[in-house]
Symmetry: D2
Amino acid sequence: MGLTIGVDIGGTKIAAGVVDEEGAILETHTVPTPATPSGIVDAIRAAVAGAGEGHDIEAVGIGAAGYVDDKRATVIFAPNIDWRHEPLKDKVEQRTGLPVVVENDANAAAWGEYRFGAGQGHEDVICITLGTGLGGGIIIGNKLRRGRFGVAAEFGHIRVVPDGLLCGCGSQGCWEQYASGRALVRYARQRAGATPENARILLGLGDGTSDGIEGKHISAAARQGDPVAIDSFRELARWAGAGLADLASLFDPSAFIVGGGVSDEGELVLDPIRKSFRRRLIGSQWRPHAQVLAARLGNRAGMVGAADLARQG
Amino acid sequence: MGLTIGVDIGGTKIAAGVVDEEGAILETHTVPTPATPSGIVDAIRAAVAGAGEGHDIEAVGIGAAGYVDDKRATVIFAPNIDWRHEPLKDKVEQRTGLPVVVENDANAAAWGEYRFGAGQGHEDVICITLGTGLGGGIIIGNKLRRGRFGVAAEFGHIRVVPDGLLCGCGSQGCWEQYASGRALVRYARQRAGATPENARILLGLGDGTSDGIEGKHISAAARQGDPVAIDSFRELARWAGAGLADLASLFDPSAFIVGGGVSDEGELVLDPIRKSFRRRLIGSQWRPHAQVLAARLGNRAGMVGAADLARQG
Amino acid sequence: MGLTIGVDIGGTKIAAGVVDEEGAILETHTVPTPATPSGIVDAIRAAVAGAGEGHDIEAVGIGAAGYVDDKRATVIFAPNIDWRHEPLKDKVEQRTGLPVVVENDANAAAWGEYRFGAGQGHEDVICITLGTGLGGGIIIGNKLRRGRFGVAAEFGHIRVVPDGLLCGCGSQGCWEQYASGRALVRYARQRAGATPENARILLGLGDGTSDGIEGKHISAAARQGDPVAIDSFRELARWAGAGLADLASLFDPSAFIVGGGVSDEGELVLDPIRKSFRRRLIGSQWRPHAQVLAARLGNRAGMVGAADLARQG
Amino acid sequence: MGLTIGVDIGGTKIAAGVVDEEGAILETHTVPTPATPSGIVDAIRAAVAGAGEGHDIEAVGIGAAGYVDDKRATVIFAPNIDWRHEPLKDKVEQRTGLPVVVENDANAAAWGEYRFGAGQGHEDVICITLGTGLGGGIIIGNKLRRGRFGVAAEFGHIRVVPDGLLCGCGSQGCWEQYASGRALVRYARQRAGATPENARILLGLGDGTSDGIEGKHISAAARQGDPVAIDSFRELARWAGAGLADLASLFDPSAFIVGGGVSDEGELVLDPIRKSFRRRLIGSQWRPHAQVLAARLGNRAGMVGAADLARQG
């Protein structure tokens, strides 16, 4: 049986991939992301057509940042694209003639990892995505849990610090202000500015100023033993692990999967996350501990997950 | 079809009730809570026999404070009773000859409210119980969600204040230190001690000292307009509502049900909880809002819920 | 004996006033604030000349936002003007031929209140200025305490929330993010956005949106009983009073003076500040309590204080 | 010229020492601490007589934990001894026939360090004492600053975490709950309980359980490289240094002196305190930095300081 296409809508490009029933990507086609909602529909159509050419495609799954309604049809609100109650499913179905499922991108990635990545064999698994921000997805009883209105698993915006940092969402103290790629950069800049003598490697990789530090510098510097870079990863891990401990109290999954760009650093960030998780886990001597696993599919998780959700209809 | 018995194990008494398929309690029998695990098994047997006499009972459901394993058979750990890996299901089945299901008491109460109380008609509902501590239960897709290892919905111990108050669980900053009956008393005592001129009614209801203030005084004083009592309820509601907003980001239920002794105050506490919930809810202008409902079954919720879980097997 | 001139350097205008030994302002002269350091020196000269004409002036005192060195001669750093190690005393002395003393503006205002305002008769008094930001001054043993390097009393930047709001100074959780005019506006906007039905008066005074709320609207709305406006003042007062309690633990003054634009609201803000102060004050039943007084000189405090500091040399 | 006696009233013993004008201790006499206020007066008399025998003593200075009034005569309140408005100066003067000065013990220790220890040559110096709790003293303009009512420098009870840990003083989030010997033990126990594999050395020094960890074990284990012990010192230092940065914003001293039992560990704790101080210091690139110095007089500081304060009358 058949092939489906997963579409990943990013800030700079839209990627469509033909995915088979085992989660393998057979072919991809990428186009730049237009600025307008109507341009984006055109671009999705083009990407789907480009990737699908010569294949027998049954359905299309689209992963998009934002709130997606409970019918998986309409993007209620998106942070980076001017979508407000955008009927994306209808528009793309009209243009492609294929059945379409729309899903929040972090949910799609979580589903991808659950089906074909680190989450295989687990019935209850929570994924967090440490990218620029912090997202995630919930699988309970082998089903993706989207909530009553479709907007569950907005992990990035649970409050971890009362009266804490202002978040783009308008609230204060949201988790993603403390555990995300953006937070990592903030930690490194603050530390390098205050104690530059401990950040010589890190500062040497950028333009020499603390404001010039970027994420890639922190990873490289940490691997070379730079104290500020290592300490910045630890700070991120402290917040990430403490949050996972809270999620364990709430969901009690058998596994957590940590994905997103930050997780590409592997044990450099996973190991301190596990330590922080265990330090904060309630009743840790009495209960089985969930595993904390690295994601396996990298940035393909969203495409593969969206395609699989489309297959399941 | 048949009757089941729900057993509620409290700190001072054990209550067994015969419950029909509509959630009605036909008869109850109560015995004092013994100090030892073996005494408790005897007492459960006695309560079940006393209540069930003359009825045709199919099964027994037991609600107990503590971690209950994923087989709903063993209490892994209990905070107030000396149970450590206690095989309660086996012991009570041997003594009663009836099939037994053991469930965490807050889960049982949540199920009771979902089936026969404020949660009827909702598929996804989160209950919180504001008693001496803070507990809760999760219903998603019409099923009680217990987690992979049986210990989900430990709401009281998610961290809401980093470096916050020490909790009996050994961690700091747990939600139940800020939103529970115990927290309410602490708020009132602190405020009355610092500004006694604003707590005249409240102090007059006890022994005149701030340390003599108890929960019942705060309720009574608030109804009479005592500023410190009202402010103490507001502080509790501020923390409760903010936590519900986080749970909405995570679970996106269609309704929250607020139960437990504190919720007996009705709108005095529900109204400020709703306000705090809405103030903190992320994306509140874009998404449908979950309802925040008062529990309806009072302290019968646990018994009714346990009995119904036993019926379902 | 003689007259001195106090100069107040604000963001939009520079005001010079002739002040007598009793703290009375005899005459003032105001000029716009230029954009460049050299322009500002010219403007100071012009303001001093304009105000002093026809008077026998002995010295000039200048109050400026920023770090002023221990010789009261050089502005080390200013947040709003491009001064970096600016030798303001030398430059103005050359242009005016008068002895000059430079002082941090909040210190000058504190001195003014101590000498001629609410602080008269107190030997140890702490002033806080709740303006757009939060500043202050310390008088101990009848002397203005500037610290070893001249930069004491930077009250706005003590940390009151670990991992808290980002401050313009680069740190997180600074007091002025929670207790200042800017904080007041943030509180009101957040609350009005979340519960507009409680902010009808407040929203009606601006453009109808929460983002259109300004400080003046909050004051007016609070006086008309708007719940969100009143609650916003209370939140500000909660943080202000808690900080004063900390300052009492550190300095143990006989009085606090609360000045700045926010304090113009009088008891609307002073009363909840006092309550919060007393609630948080340590050992409050054992120790005498410092008074919490409203400033009396309004926005003249800085000019009068600077002039008096110049008189004292 | 003459000798004076310094008396140090501890929880288990009362020590009197004869001190010369250079701060040298010529002789000491120690007696156990009685349980009652009247017993303590007797014991002070005995200790003074024993130490002073054969010396020509001019005055007695007493350092006592608690609030001491502005006349340095009465202990208003003491946490560990049943003193409430105890006229200690009068009582000891009657029994010894010598002029007596009573001072808060942390103030006396601060004065000792300022006069004869690490603070020599500084005009403005802030001392903090990291013992079981956290205390301190303020010297500004070469004078000990006691506040208007005598109770300044209660550093341990400034709030560093809103809604934080409950303190013995009745408030929440006091600095001494995060930076003190007691906090250090809490950090080590929490960490060792959660990750025992990182605390092998530390656990091996006590009874093998995390609850059996004591302060001395943490020091020894840290010197042997135990990760949990080192991390516990770092956590303490993080809070201590951040607090010093706040004190720098307020007082702008030329030096901080860190004393108390925790500081006996020297650079193990001083170095991370300095790093944390610099990381959090506001305007650190623009202003001279206060030095952070280790105390030099150890537990003699209080005795020497009290004696010197008595000499100065």
